[in-house]
């Protein structure tokens, strides 16, 4: 598996496993990783990328 994708899926795993304030922090970190991908590949829908990662998780 591509290492960047693996890192993003692991970031979502942290969101899934956490609750409340910790989840808020982990969610922010996950969204920032997605933003980083979008900056390099702006032609792709962020929403589709996000949902694809969550399905892959």
């Amino acid at each position: 598996m591509n290492r960047e994708l693996e890192a993003i899926i692991l970031a979502y795993e942290k969101v899934s496993a956490s609750r409340d304030k910790e989840a808020e922090h982990n969610l922010l970190a996950f969204e920032l990783l997605l933003d980083g991908v979008m900056e390099r590949q702006p032609g792709v829908s962020r929403d589709i990328l996000r949902r694809s990662v969550i399905k892959a998780h």
Binding site: S16, A23, E24, L27, V37, V44, S52, K55, A56
Partner: protein
């Protein structure tokens, strides 16, 4: 001295105090109920993780999952309408609810997002993250 034997000023003061207490309860009771609701959502998210993400669910279980999460999201949105009112003035509660709404929606989409098939999502990831 009875209530009606008091001066009008004293009676007004008692009435104001009662109203203030009831108003304060009207603020605290929803906060307590929302905390209970948070606890319930956390249990639901825990079941999602233990019974659906880390195990393979049956189609009947997935149908129950769909109903439970749809109801939870709808109820959250209704609560959000209430507590996002600036007069309620509980921004921390609003932020905590927003995170749970996001988690519930993501949990729902994991299995019931008909607008994006597993094949489509795999194709997107292959294209964006070549090995």
């Amino acid at each position: 001295m009875s209530f009606y034997g008091m001066s009008a000023v004293a009676r007004d003061q008692i009435a104001d105090d009662q109203l203030s207490r009831i108003q304060a309860q009207g603020h605290e009771i929803p906060k307590q109920q929302i905390q209970q609701w948070f606890n319930w959502m956390d249990r639901l998210l825990g079941v999602h993780r233990s019974q659906f993400v880390l195990r393979e669910a049956t189609s009947a279980q997935l149908e129950d999952h769909k109903i439970a999460f749809k109801e939870a999201i709808r109820y959250c949105l209704a609560i959000n309408t209430r507590i996002a009112d600036p007069d309620f003035n509980e921004p921390d509660l609003v932020a905590r609810l927003q995170v749970r709404i996001r988690q519930l929606q993501d949990a729902y989409d994991t299995f019931h997002d008909a607008s994006l098939s597993n094949e489509q999502s795999e194709e997107v990831l292959k294209r964006m993250f070549p090995e």
